[in-house]
Homo-oligomer: 238 residues x 2
Amino acid sequence: MPFSPVRDPETQSLLVVEDDDALRAVLVEALKVVCPTVREETSVAGALRACAEREPDLVLLDLGLPDGDGSELLVRLRAVTTVPLIVLSGREGEEEKVALLDAGADDFLTKPCGAAELQARVRGQLRRSAFSASARSASHMTIDGIDIDLAAQRVTREGVPQRLTPTEWALLRALALHADRTLTPKQLWDLVWDREFGDFAVHVRVHITHLRRKIEPNPAIPRLIVTETGVGYRLVLP
Amino acid sequence: MPFSPVRDPETQSLLVVEDDDALRAVLVEALKVVCPTVREETSVAGALRACAEREPDLVLLDLGLPDGDGSELLVRLRAVTTVPLIVLSGREGEEEKVALLDAGADDFLTKPCGAAELQARVRGQLRRSAFSASARSASHMTIDGIDIDLAAQRVTREGVPQRLTPTEWALLRALALHADRTLTPKQLWDLVWDREFGDFAVHVRVHITHLRRKIEPNPAIPRLIVTETGVGYRLVLP
DNA sequence: AACGGTCTTAACACATCGTAACATCCGCCC
DNA sequence: GGGCGGATGTTACGATGTGTTAAGACCGTT
């Protein structure tokens, strides 16, 4: 079954996609500490097959595989699943980072990476994913005085109900369902608006302002919706 | 036979129409959680044949099939059956969405779709379809203090009988028989009025107002007949 | 013919959104 | 240090969609 949001660590499984045997062995060893069952694939085709067979709870993906561009796998994976996805790659600039985020990556690791950092990142993603899942089902979260009920479409600041327009609501929902993850303006545009073209940078900025005015304790100093300069926006987790 | 309202989950069957093998496998796996028997087709022709053979309880249809336009299948299916129909497609604009609704789609999913959302939508449609079926036979439903008796043409709000004009009644009936489904002004116009031409947008708006004034506990904050901005109106299910 | 009820249509009120314009902040280069 | 340019924040206005009200048209009944 491809989906079961909050799993017992015992039944969780991770998927490592890496063609270099030695490196893959190291990664798998490190990850077994976080989650006992780690599956391995060495190609784009294999990775897709493995995901179709049984969806893992997290994918660690090396860019630069033999049988295809890694970023292509990224896009194809994102077509069928919303599983947390950590990209492992060589050097990355800011623009590369944004491009990967836009393509659907959840986090990055640059080689060489210590086992401790790898484990921390994986745990972070699993925690985040569990939060999103519980947010979907419980449909209720409280962050810093702001109470968000996704199902009832209700938001209260310090107990005071706030009226959100449909667009504002969609924006908040997108941020909340990916809490603690930085979403680029392009991603927010795709999640909130249906249109293909338009100046998404402007739209997102304007509506972020509106949203902040309604839900931030002090809109001038955003604490809930922070901006990651050069990348995008993020809803902080307590 | 085009109608089989409420089936035991054991005897229900779903139909997936999708040509991409990998994606279809994922969809089928996800749907087996909701309903054990899932049939698969990869073409327009196959889908029509499968429906003629034995009508499924729900169809999940991908637009963009090899042997024909997906929206054409939509129209041809709707010519022979009222089965709940979920459309799977890429990103769609609001006007595309309205067009698909007008053509007979019941719901949408945009790729990528998480399995959880897919399952929720499918369950929602099955629930809805069961509700409509029972409403037809029992001809009696109670939603949020409003009691609607379709056969007797009687409506009471908080126990107080309400007088509805013929048009208002036809409008309420149309909404109730498609409870929880968003109907576009065009669809409501077709269901309620016989005329071919006219400014249906205005007519529907005015009569929705009248109807709300009579059956909503607080007409200013509609809870029964909600408007889906840019799309249409929907009678909510508790 | 008068009346009451219903529907149509127009007109206005209001919310939301897109867009442009301007303001502010910050790092970079001279 | 000062100026420059890009990125981000803010505000305001017009267009569009939706909600509401009221006046006249239409129709059947008495």
